[in-house]
């Protein structure tokens, strides 16, 4: 091999070595850049997703809370509906001692909570009959409870199912002591306690 050939071979090897090095470096750098792009994309997507996920989960939790509140409210309604059914069943026999005592008590309660001494008691026909038959006893109980002589009149009102509406003689005051009114009042004043009783032990 001549000197020129040796020199040429050496130069060609140097050119090949440099080009291969440069090519490898280009590939390595592109792989590094690709990894960085992937990481950046992942981070970007994760950030975007995190924001939308947070709002989606918040909406889902809100829906679930609404459903939970609705379910509880439906249970509360059901408790009062069942109580109402049982009360109507319990008080449907107007001749029963339970009904008579209840009637006497709600009339007296109404009178005690009103001003004056002359009252009109409104009720359905059957109840009016009972009240008229027992008017002396009821007036006596009411007079004793109120501490003054009470004068009672009775009127029929077919809209009333169970219970009475008491009016002052001048018709300016009234006291609704029907079963429905008592149930509403109970729901208002006792609803919280019923809620606690119903959901006792719920986690």
């Amino acid at each position: 091999m001549t000197h020129i050939e040796k020199e040429t071979k050496s130069e060609i090897q140097e050119i090949q070595r440099k080009s291969e090095n440069e090519a490898n470096q280009i590939i390595e750098e592109s792989k590094k850049k690709a990894r960085a792009i992937i990481e950046e994309q992942k981070h970007k997507i994760a950030q975007e997703k995190l924001t939308s996920e947070r709002s989606e989960l918040a909406i889902l939790r809100m829906k679930q809370n609404t459903e939970l509140v609705k379910t509880k409210s439906e249970w509360l309604d059901r408790a009062f509906d069942e109580a109402q059914k049982k009360l109507f069943e319990l008080l449907k026999d107007t001749n029963s001692p339970t009904y008579k005592k209840f009637l006497n008590d709600i009339v007296v309660e109404g009178i005690v909570n009103m001003k004056g001494s002359k009252f009109i008691i409104q009720s359905n026909q059957k109840t009016t009959d009972i009240l008229e038959r027992n008017s002396t006893t009821i007036a006596k109980s009411a007079s004793k409870a109120k501490g003054e002589n009470i004068d009672l009149k009775f009127e029929q009102n077919s809209d009333i199912r169970i219970g009475v509406i008491i009016q002052s003689d001048d018709k300016r005051q009234y006291y609704n002591n029907t079963l429905e009114a008592r149930l509403n009042a109970t729901r208002e004043s006792f609803g919280g306690e019923v809620y606690t009783l119903l959901f006792k032990g719920v986690d």
Binding site: T2, I4, E5, T8, E11, I12, I15, Q16, S19, E20, E22, A23, N24, I26, I27, S30, K31, K33, A34, R35, I37, I38, Q41, K42, I45, K49, E53, E56, L57, Q64, E67, L68, T71, W75, R78, A79, F80, E82, A83, K86, L87, L90, F102, D105, I106, V108, E109, V112, A145, T186, F190, E193, V194, L197, L198, F199, K200, G201, V202, D203
Partner: protein, 105 residues
């Protein structure tokens, strides 16, 4: 004299061949680098396209899993609530009846 010229011409010829060979080697080197650059571009393009879909898919999967767990927990809560209330209902109804029947004089 003619032998010297002959020698000189031989050297010139050798240098010419060497020059051509080196130029060819340089062209080959440029080709190698060009191929490497094309491959590098392809790697980057793939990273930009394919992996973004993959990442999205993975993140969506995680998100769906979170929702599923939340819904399962909610269902468990509702079931537990309904079971518990069914036990307490009778007592609550009894208390409502007592309260409605209770007269304050």
């Amino acid at each position: 004299m003619s032998k010297e010229i002959e020698e000189l011409m031989k050297i010139v010829e050798q240098e010419k061949v060497a020059e051509n060979t080196i130029q060819q080697a340089r062209r080959n080197a440029e080709e190698t680098i060009k191929t490497a650059k094309e491959k590098a571009n392809k790697i980057i393009m793939e990273a930009k396209n394919v992996d973004s879909e993959k990442s999205q898919h993975e993140i969506n999967k995680e998100s769906e899993e979170k929702k599923r767990r939340l819904q399962e927990e909610h269902k468990r809560k509702l079931d537990s609530l309904n079971k518990c209330v069914e036990t307490n209902l009778e007592h609550a109804v009894k208390k409502i009846i007592e309260n409605v029947m209770k007269v304050t004089i």
